[in-house]
């Protein structure tokens, strides 16, 4: 089982939503579609689901061309960001509805509904209407409806975005478990890099209608193919600096340091050097850590982490540190980073290291 998008694009009179893209998704895979808002995640999913027709290109499922097939003919399931359920039906009937359409035996339907409902912890709400449930339960109902019919393709369009923090964490942990046992391709759209890292599987990075990178989530995170991919995959935003490198010595803003040994000593020219916020620490860990003496601009404590924006020599830096640090504005604090943690991109945005 595989899904193959060939030269897929979507445009209307005025703008292009998806530039010509290719993508092959294998069976039994969870694919995170990661991109900022308006990057074309939903458009791409609608094309895959068959809700919209692509302007160019073909979609193959198991080598069969399904580009012209209607939604009803494709065996897909989809969950939206908004909690979409049939308000006039009970939760039980909501979950059962895809099977009712397929005209299964009532006994079989009942058995399946109970099975899926217990998987999503909805057993106690089956006789209620969707609007009597909490947001989390409503979204579970929508997920249950997506799971019940053994779809070949399950599309989840930011399913957790409208949930509160606690519920999101809870469901985010459960989702991968639910989907790993299934014989289907899952596509999970999100704006949150954390989602991608927690869910694992593969990641498709999309930005401004272009598929930037596709690969195993951990590989995409560790080795972004270009600056856009690195930026999309980092929250809080990546620190990006223009810098001169001369024989392996980097100069950002009058801070000089040697690149790690693995990098060619002959590297010279203008590059973009990036440091992930959580790699900027306030403790020196190794001897060759580089020191920046920054002036704190903003210090936000969110739970167990501290987000610090600081200035050094007219440039702004962002640092995310585990633990609570209550710095005042204008405090002078020393920050450290390891040269080996730097990501270096050349002017074409392609990674060099």
């Amino acid at each position: 089982m595989s899904l193959n998008l060939t030269n897929i694009s979507k445009k209307n009179l005025f703008e292009t939503h998806i530039y010509s893209s290719n993508l092959i998704l294998e069976k039994n895979s969870i694919n995170v579609l990661l991109g900022p808002t308006l990057s074309g995640k939903t458009t791409l999913m609608r094309l895959i689901a068959g809700l919209d027709e692509p302007s160019t290109g073909k979609i193959y499922f198991n080598e069969k061309d399904i580009t012209k097939d209607k939604v009803q003919k494709r065996n897909v399931a989809m969950v939206y960001q908004q909690f979409i359920n049939y308000p006039s039906l009970t939760v039980y009937e909501n979950i059962a509805s895809p099977l009712r359409v397929l005209k299964h035996e009532p006994d079989f339907i009942h058995q399946k509904v109970i099975e899926v409902a217990s998987l999503l912890k909805l057993n106690n709400f089956l006789e209620k209407r969707p609007h009597q449930l909490s947001g989390g339960q409503q979204q579970r109902t929508a997920l249950a409806r997506a799971l019940i019919k053994n779809a070949d393709l399950i599309l989840l369009d930011e399913p957790l975005a409208n949930l509160d923090f606690k519920l999101r964490e809870e469901l985010r942990e459960e989702l991968p478990k639910i989907f790993t046992k299934r014989d289907c391709i899952v596509i999970y759209a999100t704006t949150d890099p954390m989602d991608a890292l927690l869910i694992g599987g593969n990641t498709i990075v999309i930005n401004e209608g272009k598929i930037v990178q596709y690969g195993k989530t951990i590989d995409v995170y560790k080795n972004p193919s270009d600056l856009i991919s690195a930026k999309v995959f980092n929250d809080p935003p990546l620190n990006v600096f223009e810098s001169r490198i001369k024989n392996g010595i980097v100069n950002i803003n009058n801070i000089e340091f040697h690149l790690s040994k693995s990098v060619s000593k002959n590297l010279s020219g203008n590059y973009k050097v990036c440091i992930r916020p959580h790699h900027l620490k306030n403790k020196k860990e190794e001897i060759d850590d580089v020191e920046i003496e920054g002036k704190v601009r903003i210090c936000e404590i969110n739970g167990s982490e501290t987000l610090i924006h600081f200035d050094y020599n007219k440039l702004n830096y962002t640092s995310l540190i585990n633990g609570i640090f209550n710095y005042s504005i204008q405090d002078t604090v020393k920050f450290y980073f390891k040269p080996s943690n730097c990501l270096i991109f050349n002017s074409n945005n392609k990674i060099t290291v």
Binding site: A49, L51, K70, V71, Q72, V76, A77, M78, Y80, Q82, I84, Y86, P87, S88, L89, S97, P98, V101, L102, A142, R145, K149
Partner: protein, 250 residues
């Protein structure tokens, strides 16, 4: 409440008592007026005729307005906004304007003095109204609901009947209510387009009053009965109307 009370008060009096004495309640309490209405066919047929064309009109208006409102809400097409506004302008002209063309048209195609004639004529202002109300309710339902249903495998007709109509029952209820009310109270077209067979109750009332002198008690009884259907319908849709106000479409 006073005029309604006075109407009820009068309906239980004899015409003599109404004209000659002033009393806050009937002295010679009588059901005679009501008995007359329910036994005399010119009277009760008036109610039957009115109800017939009003119900017919309500069904016609709402069934025609549902797909139209769905289209206005879900699809973009050239001039959709103008067409939507133009529909409403039909409500702005007084029905009298249309009395003559309708009369001529129905006379020439032998529809004159039938229930369907009045029902169709009332569609002129009820369909735009129903479209306007329903469009608000349909737009409040996210488009994703439709799409979810297609993804679940519903065909369009099946989705529309099984999922969509139950979802917007409140809107349909309100649309029915307003169509019913406007058709029920409309007199001019109903009177112009009928003579004997489909004569509405309101017309019966005016004609009786002019030929048999002042039969005030009888008239009051007929009036009281005329209020009933409206009150009855309001009772059923009162909860929905609040919802309609919340959507700004009532």
């Amino acid at each position: 409440m006073l005029p309604i009370y006075w109407l009820l008060n009068m309906s239980f009096k004899t015409t003599n008592e109404i004209i000659n004495t002033f009393s806050l309640w009937p002295i010679n309490f009588t059901f005679e007026n009501y008995i007359k209405i329910f036994t005399d066919s010119t009277w009760y047929m008036g109610y039957f005729n009115s109800l017939a064309y009003v119900l017919l009109n309500t069904i016609l208006s709402v069934t025609a307005a549902l797909p139209a409102a769905y289209a206005f809400s879900r699809y973009k097409f050239v001039g959709d906004k103008h067409l939507f506004f133009w529909l409403l302008t039909n409500r702005m002209a007084p029905p009298a304007v249309f009395a003559l063309p309708f009369f001529q048209l129905y006379s020439s195609i032998n529809l004159f003095d039938t229930h369907i004639a009045v029902a169709l004529a009332h569609c002129l202002f009820n369909i735009p109204l129903a479209v306007w109300i329903l469009e608000g309710f349909i737009s409040a339902v996210p488009k994703e609901l439709d799409e979810t249903a297609y993804i679940d495998g519903y065909s369009f007709p099946r989705f529309f009947i099984k999922i969509f109509i139950p979802t917007i029952t409140a809107g349909i209820g309100i649309a029915c209510f307003f169509c019913f009310m406007f058709s029920w109270v409309e007199l001019l077209l109903a009177k112009t387009l009928t003579s004997v067979e489909a004569k509405p109750i309101a017309a019966t009332m005016t004609r009786t009053a002019s030929t048999a002198g002042y039969e005030l008690g009888l008239l009051a009884a007929a009036g009281s009965l005329t209020i009933l259907p409206g009150a009855f319908v309001i009772y059923f849709v009162r909860n929905y109307i609040a919802k309609g106000f919340a959507l700004g479409r009532v």
